[in-house]
């Protein structure tokens, strides 16, 4: 019982009546106003998504204008390339596949109140093992079997890489933010080693160290004659399945209780330590699967030093989507449009490609700020401006 005691002491502070608990706030689970009202829903969507997005677009636009470029043309290109043009839309959908799987892994973790920030390591380990083995395995078995085997393996590897943080959290209550980040860094390096030491192919010619190429015809099948590979379906199914699982199954409810209130989880007789481990494993499996899908669907091989570092951006997206699968899909779509469209738009505007990151950062920050105002509004608190003026008036001499 040592473990549960620790978790308890971590959160034993009493909550004053009517205030959201610390864990509630961390998970962004400030309870919304009555769910039934449709206009309220639309208003919230406006306030939490559309408004910050517009603010980010506006700020970015001003920046572009200041740089002497045409912001309307810039955003026009993003939309045209990211959504309107058929080939661009295909690329957007292709880009979504691994992001969706990562998001699915994060939804599970965040719903259970666990910050799995080690996605990059889990992703890359899944990717490198698949990259290393897929071509060889495809010599030995038919494509379908090979794909299933490889996808399963990537999931297993991703899950396995979470065991250390999981046990440390379950056993000693050690902050998983730190442990998953550490394991991720080690995983990134290990993935590179895997490629260079165990799966280095002699066929690479003069290229940098890489694994064998999986033949295009052996990769994930494409959808409806497009270039979009079936990883998109796997990703969509994963997010929707996780969404439904969190809402309709026993495990989902248990994880939600764990995430919303650890004390209540103990009180309800949930096996908290076990649930923590299950959460980590599930989350890591989706991350690893994302790596597998990216290799089997797009890359076909893994080079040493391969690290698209996808998770970092998905983390805030899932958090801001409040772990809602549908909203997450929308956000992932938005991010993909920004990435695919942004690459062309920056190129045409003569801006560096990294400018897209700035737009993403602006969206994130404005959404967070909107979240904050909404939370305050729900708690019935006064606006920040009122509070600030109060503080200014009350300051007189009260330093530190």
């Amino acid at each position: 019982m040592k473990a549960s005691d620790r978790v308890r002491t971590e959160l034993t502070d009493e909550n004053a009546d009517g205030r959201a608990s610390a864990s509630d706030r961390r998970n962004g689970k400030t309870s919304g106003p009555s769910e039934s009202s449709r206009t309220e829903k639309i208003r919230r969507a406006m306030l939490l998504t559309i408004l910050p997005l517009l603010a980010a677009i506006l700020t970015g636009g001003l920046l572009i204008l200041a740089l002497g470029e045409n912001p309307i043309a810039f955003y026009g290109t993003i939309i045209d390339r990211g959504i309107v043009s058929p080939s661009g839309l295909q690329e957007t959908l292709i880009r979504m596949a691994p992001l969706l799987l990562i998001a699915a892994g994060l939804i599970v973790a965040f719903s259970a109140g666990i910050w799995n920030l080690g996605g990059d390591g889990q992703f890359l380990l899944g990717a490198s093992l698949v990259g290393g083995l897929a071509a060889t395995v495809s010599d030995a078995m038919p494509r379908g079997l090979m794909l299933i085997f490889m996808l399963g393996m990537s999931a297993a590897v991703g899950g396995a890489w979470t065991i250390v943080p999981a046990l440390m959290k379950a056993r000693y209550g050690i902050n998983e933010i730190i442990t998953t980040l550490m394991m991720s860094a080690i995983g990134v390096n290990l993935a590179s080693l895997i490629v260079k030491v165990w799966f280095l192919t002699p066929e690479r010619g003069l290229q940098i160290p890489r694994t064998r190429i999986l033949d295009v015809s052996d990769r994930l099948p494409t959808l409806f004659g497009t270039r979009v590979h079936s990883g998109l379906v796997i990703g969509l199914v994963a997010v929707i399945a996780v969404h439904l699982m969190m809402r309709h199954t026993t495990l989902g409810l248990r994880l939600n209780v764990l995430g919303a209130n650890v004390k209540a989880a103990h009180h309800s007789g949930l096996k908290v330590s076990k649930l923590i481990v299950v959460t980590f494993l599930l989350s890591g499996m989706f991350m690893g699967l994302a790596g597998g899908v990216e290799v089997l669907g797009v890359q076909g091989l893994v080079r040493a030093g391969f690290n698209p570092a996808l998770t970092l951006v998905v983390v805030p997206l899932v958090f801001l989507a409040r772990m809602n699968g549908w909203v997450t899909i929308a956000f992932v779509f938005l991010l993909s449009v920004l990435t695919i469209g942004g690459e062309l738009a920056t190129r045409q505007a003569g801006l560096p490609n990294d400018f897209g990151l700035l737009i993403v950062a602006l969206v994130l920050i404005f959404m967070t700020v909107a979240e904050y105002f909404e939370a305050r509004r729900i708690r019935g608190e006064r606006t920040v401006w009122q509070t600030m003026s109060d503080r200014l008036l009350a300051r007189g001499g009260a330093g530190v």
Binding site: A16, Y172, M182, L312, L320, F355, A361, L364, G399
Partner: protein, 308 residues
């Protein structure tokens, strides 16, 4: 091959590799001690690298450049101050926002200013005490480094002194452990944390400026190359003690420089292993200690009076 000059060279290399980590690490350490996990440190370093270089080019002064770098880092940390400390928003989400924003912004500014001509700043002056700096093996390292190295070591010492010997340091250490106690003692938690995050920006900026002003002599997009994250880990390893941080950074620098030296005698140490080591050490320490005392207990938790 392992003669005196090479040992000197390894020591010099170790210092060169560790100074940016030390600078950024001090800032992160102070911030973590006050309970704020500053994931955006890498972004603050980039801002410092660019800002420092810009000021140095404009003013033709390296020292003003460092001040500019500190200011640019502080500017980036203001986002954290307002959103995380004042409003209690999530430190991770905002930290990632700061990181991405700084990456985009510095690349953009670089494209707009230096990309075409790639101007460079003159070499930084080094301490040179005739006689002393010529002492075999250690003379160059002890008496012949760029001035900023000594400033960094001084900053480490000062940070240690501030943290352990001043009321400010006491308040910072207490805030990371139990902010409500600090509040009850009449110390404003928001002010303490704001200043701690600001110092993370200042030191992160200085670390970045060291890269652009001393290591390279110019700014290159994304030039920090993950050093911000390494500094975060080192700050955790140091458990709030700047001297331990400096030792950790030096050890890491020594390991990387040593790896280079080993190449010269034909011994290959895979860089992946060297790069993984600090992380593995932190994990091992956490496992062995098996408890959270390794980190400030209020780390990454926002504080709002009356809501605990």
């Amino acid at each position: 091959m392992f003669d005196e000059t090479l040992i000197t060279a390894v020591l010099v290399g170790a210092i060169a590799a560790s100074v940016p980590l030390m600078l950024a690490g001090i800032g992160e350490l102070i911030s973590e001690r006050a309970g704020v996990l500053n994931i955006g440190l890498e972004g603050m370093m980039l801002m410092g690298a660019y800002g420092g270089f810009w000021v140095a080019i404009e003013t033709e002064s390296i020292w003003l450049g460092f001040i500019g770098g500190a200011a640019a880092g502080a500017l980036a940390s203001l986002v954290m101050v307002f959103l995380c400390v004042r409003w209690g928003l999530d430190q991770i989400v905002v930290g990632i926002g700061v990181l991405l924003g700084a990456e985009g912004l510095t690349s953009l500014l670089d494209a707009a200013t230096f990309a075409d001509t790639r101007p460079r700043i003159g070499i930084t002056a080094r301490l040179d005490i005739p006689g002393l700096s010529d002492i075999p093996v250690a003379g160059r390292v002890v008496f012949g480094e760029p001035y900023m190295v000594y400033v960094t070591l001084l900053a480490v010492a000062v940070a240690g002194w501030v943290l352990w010997k001043t009321p400010w340091g006491l308040a910072i250490r207490a805030t990371g452990e139990r902010p409500e106690a600090v509040d009850a003692a009449g110390v404003n938690v928001v002010v303490v944390r704001s200043l701690a995050v600001l110092s993370a920006g200042v030191f992160g900026g200085l670390g970045g400026a060291y890269l652009s002003l001393v290591s390279a002599g110019n700014f290159i997009p994304m030039m920090t190359g993950g050093r911000g994250f390494m500094a975060i880990v080192l700050a955790m390893l140091a458990r709030g003690r700047p001297l331990l941080l400096a030792a950790g950074a030096l050890l890491f620098g020594f390991a990387t420089a040593g790896t280079t030296a080993l190449q010269l005698v034909g011994v290959e140490v895979r860089p992946e292993i060297v790069n993984s080591l600090p992380f593995a050490v932190v994990l091992a320490a956490l496992v062995l200690l098996g408890r959270n005392e390794f980190l400030p207990s209020a780390l990454a938790l926002p504080y709002v009076r009356g809501e605990r």
